[in-house]
Each structure stands twice: as C-alpha cells, then as structure tokens.
Subunit: 189 residues, 2 copies
C-alpha cells in the first residue's frame, strides 16, 4: 500500500536479529545483521550499545507475539485442562512449519551458554513466565502438586519443541497423550 | 606416572573439540581449538579435513562414553522399568555437576541448525540409538504402545537435559515421578 509506513532502522534491525538468530543462531555476525536490515554498522551502534543488546531487545519485543500465539485468552471460560492443552496444540501447529526450529527462548540459552548474557536473561524470564502460567492453571485445576505439574509441563514443552526443532520427532500423536497422562496423574480433569 | 603415554596431536584436538564446544558452543574458532590442543593449524588440517570434520569425529568418539555412562549393562537381570529409570537417574546425577550444560548431542543439533552438517548427522544418530534403547525396553516391558513410550521417554530425556543445562530446573523430585507416570500409563510395571 502506498501509505504504508516504512519500518525504521531500529525496527529493521530488531526484525533481522529475530529472523537471522532464529535461523542461523546467535553467532550470526554484526555485518550480516546490518546487511539484512539495510542499516550501516555506524547506525546500528548509535541505536544499540552492542550486538548482545540488540539480541536482548529483539527477544524482549518478540515475547508479546510468543505469549499471544501460545497462550489462550485470559478468562476464556475454558477449564484449566483445556487451557493447558491449548498451549501444546499451538506448538504442535507451529512445529509443522518448515522453518520451525523449536522455541527461540530455549535455543538462545543453549547457544549462549552464559546465563548472565543480556539475551539469556530475557529468554530465561520469558520461559519463567510460561512456567508461571502452567503453575496458575495447575493451581486453578486443583492439581495434587501444582509445582510439580508446572515443572512437568515446562519439561514436556521444551522437550517437544527441541525435538521437533531438530527434526528428531514430528510430534504426531505424541504430545496430547503425554500431557493428558500427566494431567490425569495430577488429578486435573 | 612416568611411563604414561602422551596423547597424540589427534587425541588432543579431539579432546579440545569435545571440551570447548560443550562449554562454549560449536561456533568456537579453529584458533582456539588448536591453541587448547597445543597443535598448529597446519597440523590440524593435516589430520582433519575441516573444523566440521573435527567436530563430527569428536562427537563420534565421545559416543561410547555417553552410552557407557547412561545405559545399564546389557542383561543385568533388572526389569525394563528399572533399566529405563536407570538412564534418567544417570542424567539427574550428571546434571548436579556445575559444568553440566545438557546433552551435547541435543545442543550440537540446536546450535548447528543444519541437519546435513557432519556433526549434526553424528549427533542425530547417537540420539536415535537412545530412542532405540527405550523402544527395545518398552517392548520387553510389554508397553501398550512401545513406539509412543519410546518417543515420550526421549522427549522427557531431552526436556530434562535442556532445562537442567540452562539452569531453568535443578530436576530435584521431577524426573522419577514423571517417568514413572508415563511407565504406569503404558503398563510397564
């Protein structure tokens, strides 16, 4: 459209960082990021302190999309069991895309190794929020041990996204039975 | 000991590749690998075609340690249920080490992104062998659906090692209840 607003250099850099680190990993160079964004290195360093900072901001800005895509709407009237299963259905759907490489917030932490890296910190927080969602639903669904169930669901979430991301498993017929078994054992009906 | 055999340049390179890629990731440079091994770049390229090749051989040679550490001895007289639980106990023990960063064969595949990379291929095969172990024990333990159980156990294995590797979970009280629930649901007593 003729009146479409052209993304700013900042937006283009954040988009390039999100796309390229997901596809190629966090070791992607500054040159490649700037080239993909069509921004000079000088401009990049005027907008972001460092590549690490760019990655961290990019992950933070992607978090709202991540949450909106994965989590059900608040108070949608469904049971906790259904709301938990919904999250896993979303990942299963995402995993069918050829460009799927698993959860970016898990991958970034595995790739960076360093927990104190600003991008690792952002990723850690986003994942902790997901576990908190599971914890709240487990509590609401009267799980025998809401903490345990939340940790189990996080483990299944990361396991499935990792395995689908490396194409070790296409997830067909795997996730729903696994999650249901854990929900049953916790007494979440 | 005075009569200890000094490791050859080849062995030192393989050891450096195993240690440094696990600690710092596969993007570690050739310079750093050669420096850690005390081998010139020229010698490295006489021994290995490329860094990719060095990584692949290093992963392949580590596989026997991986298998020996994780899997129970063949025909140890224990039930399938016990033999499966043994694998998870091993990972739980490994995860307590401060240098633990999860399963190297999962990390390599997540980091490389490229399934056709020689190191990715080796890692894929090692993980497929673990799933085959679970599959054989599931069958022997008369699981209702041995394929499903083997995939579930692989998922839990990767989820737990990933989460412990990024220090999202210390695994205490998590793994055994999860695996037992899945074994119970599959009818493996």
């Amino acid at each position: 459209m003729s009146n479409e607003v052209k993304p700013s250099p900042r937006e283009r850099l954040l988009e390039a960082a999100a796309t390229l680190t997901y596809r190629d990993g966090v070791s992607i160079g500054v040159e490649a990021l700037c080239k993909a964004a069509g921004v000079s290195k000088r401009s990049m360093y005027q907008l972001f302190e460092s590549k690490d900072q760019l990655l961290a901001v990019s992950l933070k800005e992607q978090a709202s999309v991540y949450v909106t895509t994965l989590l059900p709407a608040a108070d949608d009237g469904r049971s906790s069991r259904e709301r938990i299963l919904y999250v896993f259905e979303q990942v299963e759907t995402q995993a069918k895309a050829p460009e799927f490489r698993g959860c970016r917030y898990l991958a970034v932490q595995i790739e960076l190794k360093d927990r104190s890296h600003p991008a690792s910190r952002v990723a850690h927080e986003v994942k902790a929020n997901l576990t908190a969602f599971f914890r709240a639903e487990a509590e609401r669904g009267e799980a025998a041990d809401p903490d345990l169930l939340a940790r189990q669901l996080s483990l299944v979430f990361d396991g499935m996204s990792a395995r689908a991301g490396i194409q070790a498993d296409d997830l067909t017929g795997l996730v729903a039975p696994t999650v249901r078994t854990l929900l049953d054992a916790a007494g979440v009906r």
